[in-house]
């Protein structure tokens, strides 16, 4: 057997990239076949579409009053619509034939009110119940038309009436508010996905330890290759999910005209997605390392607690930052690795974070990720083959592959 028998040749030797890709591929296909995961994704999307639909319904549904007009709709119609617009109501004018038709239309609820401006000395408004807004709109319209008529008869030139020009000092305010709202939803989503995919990573690590398949895997690859494949595979899925949600949210918001400034919305969504990538890399490494210390799913809860506390803390600080994006708490925590992915997007959306601040937060986070992966890789390697009970962190560091 000095020369290797060619029929036995196992083929090429897979390199690191190939092994990592194989592990990642297995993680993805295993999750895609997990019914619970698919149901979760579908539910999230359905929920999101539901929220969008609700927004659309609130913004438009039922709030457009209809006014029937008997008689001179040519002049009164535009006047009523203009008055309505002035106080922010889209009034629809419906021409009606006579008083009988008007009464019937009001009674059946086809219109919210009917204005009888036929031959009578004074116009009359028919309503089911008294409605101050409607009355004010109609009154203003009727008197406006009457005044205009009388002025025209008196020969006054109407073009001379000055129109007030409006300049809003707090122009961006509402827009920023909207971005902050989007950021809060984004941070909530980010928090949910980080916890979910962090748990996936942790469960996967423990599953391999509990089923002892890890011994078979480590006979063919190094611990860091297994760790990298697992994190990347699940990360791709997580990223796909948050991008899917982002696309649906932006697409829906644009299609239904829910947001004022589409560009800002897209910016906020993109920053949330990028922060997800950083947050996931950090937490996935941390969750994997913690999970490698135990050998049963039941013990997972206790070792994951510190990371969970950090995540939940970050989530609440993020919500708080929405109310006070320039506050000390928000500013400081937006640099703390682990918290920054949940706080910085809110500050960015509120327009409170300068570009250099974001850059610093990203840099600090990247350093933390490198540290977590390197330290984590050592602990993981040391603890992976200790399949009995719990391993202490220090033992694992010392026992790397011993």
């Amino acid at each position: 057997m000095s020369a290797p028998d060619p029929t036995r040749d196992a083929g090429r030797d897979p390199g690191s990239a190939e092994l990592v890709r194989l592990v990642a591929g297995r993680e993805i296909s295993a999750r895609l076949r997990d019914k619970n995961f698919i149901i979760g994704v579908v539910l999230t999307v359905v929920l999101l579409i539901g929220i969008l639909g609700f927004q659309v319904a609130v913004n438009s549904g039922g709030e457009e009053p209809r006014l029937g007009v008997v008689g001179d709709t040519a002049q009164l119609g535009p006047a009523v619509e203009a008055q309505g617009q002035a106080i922010g109501i889209d009034v629809t004018v419906v021409p009606l034939d006579d008083e009988a038709a008007a009464r019937q239309a009001v009674e059946t609820g086809d219109v919210d009110g009917a204005l009888l401006a036929g031959g009578g000395p004074a116009p009359e408004l028919l309503v089911e119940d008294r409605d101050a807004t409607m009355e004010a709109v109609v009154n203003a319209a009727v008197s406006g038309v009457a005044v205009a008529q009388q002025l025209a008869e008196a020969g006054v030139d109407l073009d001379a009436v000055p129109e007030v020009e409006v300049t809003a000092l707090a122009a961006d305010d509402e827009e920023d508010q909207q971005q902050v709202l989007v950021a809060i939803i984004g941070v909530g989503l980010l928090y949910g996905l980080l916890i979910m995919f962090g748990q996936f990573v942790a469960q996967g690590v423990v599953e391999e330890k509990a089923s002892r398949v890890v011994e078979l895997l480590l006979a063919t690859m190094r611990p860091w290759q297994l760790l990298a494949g697992k994190i990347i595979g699940l990360g791709v899925l997580g990223l796909a999910q948050i991008v899917l949600i982002g696309v649906i949210a932006v697409g829906g918001a644009l299609a239904f005209d829910v947001v004022a400034v589409p560009g800002a919305l897209i910016g906020t969504v993109v920053s949330v997605v990028l922060w997800f990538v950083l947050g996931y890399a950090f937490y996935a490494a941390a969750f994997a390392v913690a999970a490698s210390l135990v050998s049963r799913q039941e013990d997972l809860g206790s070792v994951l607690t510190p990371m969970m506390v950090l995540l939940i803390g970050g989530f609440f600080v993020g919500i708080q930052a929405a109310a006070d994006p320039g506050g000390t708490l928000a500013v400081v925590t937006s640099y703390v690795p682990g918290l920054s992915p949940l706080v910085m997007p809110v500050r960015q959306a509120a327009g409170e974070a300068a570009a250099w601040e974001v850059a610093v937060a990203v840099a600090v986070m990247l350093v933390a990720i490198v540290a977590a992966v390197r330290l984590g890789g050592r602990v993981y390697a040391g603890a992976l083959l200790r399949t009995s009970g719990k391993t202490k962190l220090r033992e694992a560091l010392r026992a790397e592959r011993a």
């Binding site: 057997m1 000095s2 290797p4 028998d5 029929t7 036995r8 196992a10 083929g11 090429r12 030797d13 897979p14 092994l19 194989l22 297995r26 295993a30 599953e207 391999e208 089923s211 002892r212 398949v213 890890v214 011994e215 078979l216 895997l217 480590l218 006979a219 063919t220 690859m221 190094r222 083959l385 399949t387 592959r401 011993a402």
Partner: protein
């Protein structure tokens, strides 16, 4: 040659391996015996790179076994390990790919081995749905699917029914016939005796005996004497110099003679008790060799003294 050379390993004060070494020829089967905790699993884990030895190395064809070379080794760990929720066929194919087969070759090899080990109908079932015996077959398929050049199996026969033992034995002999060196550990010494070309007995971190079963027998031959004396009183042989009574049952006596003991004196003593129905040297079974080899030498000396 597959060579285990001077392996040492200690965990703290506990010296688990203290210079373990043996060699296995290609196309031969090596039975690795030893009591629980003797260090068999640690030895195999060192070969698979799962444990770093304090000293020594494992070589295949003169090259130190490293991560690349290890892909050509089929391994079955002592604690069986498979993904419980993964389908049988896919699992075996996945492990084949980790050993370097490409997608198509892995799928083909997986199908072939799953079929050969009688699991064709269960190919699409998750492993956790299979009986333990069938899971063991999947484990074997996982070890064989990459067409390994070397097989290292830790307790492959444990937990199998007699039919399962036979089919696994047949599969291993098949591998041996095609030139693969096979190392397996087992407590079933009759099986080791039947299958293996050579045997190694590990005790207290050292190899206390290595060689073919024949060689071990020859080394121990001329020591065990079976004498059947139906009329003798119990304990008839205890006073003879250099003789230890291994067992005695209604006159059927097994005696262990030290080097200087005189077998003719034993015969004379037997004749004195009355009729002698049987008097002959006996070839030791592997079980007896094993007992003799792993017995703590100090306690043996005390008994002999």
């Amino acid at each position: 040659m597959l060579e285990f050379d001077g392996l040492r390993k200690s965990y703290g004060d506990n010296q688990v391996l203290d210079g373990v070494g043996f060699a296995v020829r290609p196309g031969s089967m090596f039975g690795f015996c030893g009591s629980n905790g003797a260090g068999k699993t640690t030895t195999m884990r060192i070969a698979m790179g799962l444990v770093l030895p304090d000293a020594g190395e494992v070589r295949w064809q003169g090259r130190r076994l490293d991560q690349v070379l290890r892909r050509r080794v089929g391994y079955m760990p002592e604690e069986r390990g498979l993904y419980p929720k993964m389908k049988v066929g896919e699992q075996v194919a996945y492990l084949a790919r980790l050993h370097g087969l490409d997608r198509a070759a892995a799928a083909r090899a997986s199908e072939e081995w799953v079929e050969r080990l009688g699991l064709g109908a269960r190919r699409g079932d998750p492993v956790e749905k299979l009986s333990l015996g069938n899971q063991q077959r999947v484990q074997l398929a996982a070890a064989l699917v990459s067409r390994p050049e070397v097989l290292i199996l830790d307790e492959p026969f444990s937990g199998l029914d007699p039919v399962g033992v036979d089919s696994l034995a047949e599969a291993l002999l098949d591998q041996v016939r095609s030139g693969v060196p096979v190392v397996f550990s087992s407590h079933q010494l009759d099986l080791v005796e039947r299958l293996c070309d050579s045997v190694g007995i590990l005790a207290r971190g050292r190899m206390v005996a290595t060689g073919t079963v024949e060689e071990l027998r020859r080394r121990e031959a001329g020591r065990l004497l079976r004498v059947v004396v139906p009329d003798a009183a119990p304990g008839w042989a205890t006073a003879l110099p250099g003789v230890r009574v291994v067992s005695e049952q209604a006159g059927d006596t097994l005696l262990d003679l030290a080097g200087h003991a005189d077998d003719q004196a034993v015969l004379a003593a037997a004749v004195r008790t009355g009729r002698v129905a049987h008097f002959a040297w006996r070839e030791p079974t592997l079980v007896e060799l094993f007992r003799g080899a792993v017995a703590d030498p100090r306690t043996e000396q005390e008994v002999a003294a």
